[in-house]
Symmetry: D3
Subunit: 247 residues, 6 copies
């Protein structure tokens, strides 16, 4: 099983982090390929950056089309997820969706805990987009600045643990989703310091990608996710233009 | 990884069916144990039978406690799921929840397609219980009688395929969940006759149980699913009474 | 009119308490019979205990079938309510549902106030099950331990009054539902110490049972609550097995 | 117990009809007073007429204040219900609210069945106002003209029975609410011709008024239904102006 | 374009205030007529007063029918709005609806900020009536008494600014709606003291009335807002009775 | 007032169509500038194309920044709307949002009627994104192919009128939104052939842009739409990169 781990950000250290977290849970049979965006922003944190990241994700998926059995869009707000599912025939997994749905199986309501206040609005819209508001106890964010996104999980581990505790005690969360690619791998380290199950989004996404690829669903030929008819375009990255044009 | 596949019904042929479907997707590392209820009804189809099946599921889980790393309650309406999660420390997977959440990752809205009209109301309440109404395009049921629940998937295959097509064309489903333990394994057989991805609930449940057990979440010591304090009881099956009494 | 007051718990002192509260509002024409569960737990406080209590409730209802014109399942989370309505032809009233719907007629949003933190999650799921979230201002619970469930309403009266006040002032409740059989009768005693109407669930349930029995609705022969077809079973209490088997 | 049955319409034959339906279920201890509006329209059927009826209802309630222990606003859309609850200290029951909440205790989802297409929009808004959409299977209306509103229940009985059947078969209703004062008493006559429980709104309203008056809730001194402070006004009916002015 | 600015309250100083606010944004082509209610209360602040104001609004609209191309019901809770839309053929704008919908275009969630605690419940019901709960971050009200409703915006400006800040910081509002006719014109004065966009409801209502009148929609001849059939009535203001009677 | 009418598609004939529709309602004081995307697809009809269009919209807005007082993203699904509002300080109007919110002021529930089946899923997600599901009676689409998107409104006028009628009669719509830039101007032509008010989205968007620009709201310095901090990027169009980098 060939799995594409797609980082729609330009930060290679984040790619390394998520690749390591992915390998730690992927079955031996999984052949994992990681890709870092070569255009865009170092770390997607706002609605506008998500628009950019969504476009980049589609470009990478088109470029590698045929080389993977399932793909993971490894940014928490799932930029371009629906678009990717519509365009490509293999399962596409979003890190946020996978993390939240996995959390649903471990309790009644999950909280999303993350490291930067700026991520709050985008993450809240992501919860609503997936229609999971009734299962979400809250999105809690740290408000202090951090030195480096690649190292934020070490730098802010104690504060994130504290925030997770608040999510449980004050917001009634049964499960905590540690959200954002930069927190990949943290869940395992702080597992015993938080009193409820914690979900690592990268780990969840990898396991869900394996689940979907194993189920081997057919590509839709009907419904709202069937591949659109061929279409001409101007100025798009060539592989994406070719894929959209059915060339 | 030890997986308990718990059939809260008394039909051994259903247990055989789901065991086979489970084995077809379970990784080699999974040690699968199937159990059939020794009290209850042959097949849970109503709210009252779900109450009975829920009690039976808790009894079986208590009896085998310590012998599994994750368990699957293999009846579509997830009888006793929340109760089981609250009582036991390992992941418990519900066939309906697993099927529906897996379907969420394959499209926008799923339809639930099943073989008996009597199942409709209970299944609809199950969708609501999981707060997934906004993702559900409908619950569609056959209305004809069938000869044997153990063979209904062969007897009614064509009609179920037709119903799934209607779910897509008339109800706007992007994914079809073939619901009910008696339909285990059917998805694979009819995969190419339905124009959207189909989810086999047993397969989904097994893969989600593997996902959760791999994530290895801690047992909650806070939140609404922490294990209740010890409590005395009268007249319960001994292993369940002992577990509730922390003995 | 014969009314069955069914305590699905094994505590006889609770049965006495609710019987007294019931008698204080029941019209003279009501012949009231109280039954205490002879198996189960002393007081249902969790999801798992509700599963057990639901089974017990069905057993008692089957055992007494034909001896009552309406029945009340006298535990706040309404264990087995839907199942009971489906199986039996006379009106079945749930204490939580009756309390909440009655409260709806006294204001816009009600708060549920109760004596034990452990009850919170189960009660919140009960609100959702009845689709009354939009009318519920919150579920507020005391967090201190109490000596005896049979005397908790006296022991904790002041704290419950204080909690009810907070429900009004901080949560915007227009009405307070004092929830849980052990609080039966308390509403009358603290009526003038809380600034909004208070609903006693047992009183509400009795009056709603009278209402339904007076309306004398027919048993459904269609819809999702018509009595299921006869079904064989193994190992159930004989009266319940006979009733499910239409014997 | 003194019960005020307030018809906010000007049709005396409707008042007679609802009075008879009320008497048929009211306990002997109830002293029933019926009032017909002396201004307004013969039968409220639209949003604008409901505005007029709401004002008339408040006038009548103010005029009779002190002469009743509970009052029923006997028009299905509950004109002025919230306003009346806010102004007056005794329980006020709305025919629609009472009918719908009573129906909730007899099944999962109710349908509203009525005799005139024009009533549909207003009734649908009434369902939403009470936040009961999730419990409502539909509002079904006859579309033919009728000769007389006072006799419509006889003239259209067969068609209403047919409509109720469609509500069950096509819309999945578990209970049917026969809506509108002109249908008072019809439920009893057609009880055995419809396969699910039917709710007579006047009967339900009377029994709910008895329930609330028996509970004897205090008038709110806090929350959103406490009586407003005294206020001057111009041109209102004197008793209403006096009551609003705390005179 | 002739615009009717209808104050359903009896306070002429409020009419002056809203007229001035209206003129400050109305295009030169708008011919603005203001009307003050000659019966009712000085300022609508409760559900009961809204019932009265709704009736008054319909009377004024009927009296002036044919003299305006669009009308504004200038009280925040939109008394009689649906009724007016149903009766009259030109666009009718509600101050609350216009303010909230305009705010929706300036951010994700709006907060409603107003000057009197008594307005809270009525305003919250207004949000629900328009089905905008998911877009509303909260209704925040001052709790101190004020000297004069006509001057409350000057007297309480600082406290309202502070409340708006809390709406942003604690409730997550992206936009603030300054609600209530007495606050007309305040938004402009405090624009730079609040960190998010502020909506003046009168200004929004005038501009939305211009928008609707420019679109020049036809009067509905179908759907739930088509004009009701002629109806007789008793005791209504003559122009309203004539209009309802199609005379 | 300078208004930017931004067509995120590459079809110049569509730009001409919407420009004409815009001019027909814009006040004389509006200086209208139209821009056609120079990269992307001829007509956005799917989720993936919306991702591309969203990126293009941000590029155009950045390129012209400072040259407009308000902008309209003239594609019905509002690609990039939230992102644009977050990045830029002047009001940004989405054609879908403007059309739907305007429709809300003309009735209870609107239907969206459009010319291509492929648009359905994306439009439905757009309704959900704006949290307007409760106000939407349905999204109805023609299912036949058409010759040219630039002429589809003439070619398919009769079928669209028929579809709008069905929206009213079968789906209970009070208002019809003719959706999609290619239908700009059609509403006026078919106004008298549909029995309820019809909303032209371009006209609505222009008038709402005028409304917002007239209100002159401040750019948010707090809340979820305040401009993000400066950020480096790679490979973006220079004006967008500069704007994101605060250069």
């Amino acid at each position: 099983m060939r799995l594409l781990l797609l980082n729609p950000n330009t930060s290679r250290d984040i790619t390394d982090l998520i690749t390591e977290a992915a390998r730690s849970v992927a079955p031996a049979s999984v052949e994992l390929t990681s890709v870092t965006a070569d255009r865009g922003v170092p770390y997607i944190a706002t609605r506008a950056e998500a628009v950019i990241g969504a476009g980049v994700a589609l470009e990478i998926l088109a470029e590698r089309e045929g080389q993977y059995d399932a793909a993971i869009v490894a940014a928490f707000g799932d930029p371009g997820l629906g678009a990717a599912r519509e365009l490509f025939s293999v399962p596409i997994v979003g890190m946020a969706e996978a993390g939240m749905l996995t959390a649903c199986m471990l309790g009644g309501r999950f909280a999303i805990v993350t490291f930067a206040e700026a991520l709050g609005p985008w993450y809240r819209e992501c919860v609503a987009m997936h229609r999971l508001d009734a299962r979400c106890a809250g999105v809690l964010t740290l408000d202090n600045a951090f030195r480096s996104v690649g190292d934020v999980q070490n730098e802010r581990a104690d504060m994130l643990v504290e925030l997770a505790r608040r999510a449980v005690e004050e917001h009634g969360a049964d499960v905590v989703v540690l959200a954002g690619a930069p927190l990949a791998g943290l869940a395992r380290k702080v597992r015993d310091r938080i009193e409820v199950p914690i979900v690592d989004c990268v780990a969840a996404a990898v396991l869900q990608a394996v689940t979907l690829a194993t189920l081997n669903p057919r590509a839709p030929a009907a419904g709202s996710f069937k591949r659109p008819m061929p279409k001409e375009s101007i100025g798009l990255a060539k592989p994406l233009a070719d894929w959209i044009g059915h060339r």
